[in-house]
Amino acid sequence: MHCAVLVFPGSNCDVDLYKAILQIKGATAEYVWHTDTDLDRFDVLMIPGGFTYGDYLRPGALAGVSPVIASVKKAANSGKLVLGICNGFQILIEAGLLPGALLPNQSLQFICDVVPVKVVQSKSPFTSSYELGDLLRLPIAHGSGNYYCDEVTHQELESNGQIAFSFPPENNPNGSLAGITGLLNEQRNVLGMMPHPERAVKQWLGSTDGLGIFQSMLDHHTA
């Protein structure tokens, strides 16, 4: 499984993501600069966290119209797996690959913490290593992770099984609608999530619960 790690001006989780991918036997990774448009050699595309373009305009808005994203859209439409983490999730939303919006946290504070994250959908190429209802311990670090969509969209997300991860109601750190913090597209080949699985791949990092994302993708690729 050859993975692209897309790098934009202001990406800052690219190295963590690259190293996390290499934890998985059978996975290789390569950095791709945002002006490149040829992604054919990759099996999966990953957009790391960071503050692309300084979060100018809206987080992810300027990266969302960059040259590489046009190729990401084509790849996503052809069924290739696309994972966006944190700012990568914001970029996928701004690019129109996932519905809704990510607003500033309700507290207006940047939140850096390790929090429980519930697996709401285990039938996807990104989450098959988990069991439905698993409570993962994953780091979050964001200022705008407050998921919002209108009621009609929310109903669709629920009935299509597109919600992959949510914060438990008693521990919703950013005010997200229904605690939503991981979202699949309808075809389930695009996942955006605010928590950082790439920062939870070693016991000495505090958790290994993030490995399942990358392992699931590899299992899907080799199946």
């Binding site: 305009l57 808005a61 701004e94 919006a101 607003l103 946290n105 309700q106 507290s107 919002y148 005010g175």
Partner: protein
């Protein structure tokens, strides 16, 4: 030359936490009766044309494609003499 002014505001049904925080600060300053503070963004640009209709279409396209997020924001367009 024309000057385009695009004003982007959060839609009325979207909670504006920034506006709420500013409203709280205004109250601290003694502006107790202030309500519904909302914060938006104004974008200005010079367009090298005299054709107001073409300019308006262009500004609308820019707003829809990038400057505003239609999921959470509304926008207004104004054209002035540069």
């Amino acid at each position: 030359m024309l000057k385009g002014v695009i004003t982007v505001m959060l839609q009325p049904n979207v909670l504006d936490v920034q506006g709420q925080a500013v409203q709280g600060a205004l109250k601290h300053l003694g502006f107790e009766s202030v309500e519904k503070v909302r914060i938006g963004r104004q974008i200005e640009m010079i367009l090298p044309t005299e054709d107001r209709e073409a300019a308006s279409l262009q500004l609308r396209e820019m707003a829809e494609k990038l400057l505003a997020n239609p999921v959470i924001e509304d926008f207004q367009i104004e054209i002035q003499e540069a």
